[in-house]
Symmetry: C2
């Protein structure tokens, strides 16, 4: 794994842990330019703070990146997200034409890349990014496990 | 069909036609309180204007409604949207716990309620609204057909 991607993962994990502290499900998405090795946008879940069920990390990172470059398509950029995207976010990633999708923990219950409706396997889905799942999987999963343990008071 | 729902449909069709005039794919979503017969939020596609691939009518209407009532769940409200929702929007509707989903035109290519990945048929999808498809179908479809005809210069 290249050093820049490693840095992106560290950034995502750090931000996810910060989100957990304020009661958000700790998921972080980072959109970056792999050639210029530059972060374009970074976002964590804000569903609780914003009273917004659509405010998932991936959606917010896509919105920020598109606003930044003033285009609806992010063809030359990649996303790293700490959790397997849900159907809403997997579809948004396809609409945004992100080049690569790296994700950390697999989500058996809510994921839609390797689980559930497997968004990208349907012929009606027009664009599929290159997908790399299970990247720093255990560290990404631990952030979520710790959050839910604390929530339950374990 | 009750008079209030008829009014909601007229509002959605009017707004969709206005969106077409400024180059947006003409889809409009209205969230309403069926008991108080009150419109809570209304939105059209803004993907082009906002350079935002996630700015579909349904997503924007959900965001507005949740901001308005300061809750992430819209259990007591219904949505009417002029086109069958895509997987992103169908999932957002499930997350928002909307009571009923009425939609107008069927979308064979991009829809995810009765087509494509059929979001609500998967066991991993936790909530399914009551669904009424094909409501004022031909009028809703005509708005879209006219838009694409104009776009192609027919």
């Amino acid at each position: 794994m290249d050093t820049f991607l490693k840095n992106v993962i560290e950034l995502a994990l750090k931000k996810a842990k910060k989100a957990a502290k304020i009661g958000e499900i700790p998921v972080c998405a980072v959109i970056f330019d792999p050639l210029k090795q530059k972060v374009i946008s970074c976002a964590v879940n804000r569903t609780e703070r914003d009273h917004d069920p659509t405010a998932h990390a991936e959606i917010l990172a896509i919105k920020k990146a598109c606003r930044h470059i003033r285009r609806t398509r992010l063809n030359e950029y990649d996303m790293f997200v700490t959790l397997e995207p849900c159907p809403m976010c997997a579809t948004a990633i396809s609409f945004a034409r992100l080049r690569r999708l790296y994700f950390g923990a697999y989500d058996i219950k809510g994921g839609a890349v390797d689980h559930g409706c497997r968004i990208y396997y349907h012929t009606t889905n027009l664009y599929v990014p290159e997908i790399y799942g299970g990247i720093s999987e255990s560290r990404c999963a631990d952030v979520l496990t710790d959050f839910f343990k604390t929530l339950r008071g374990d």
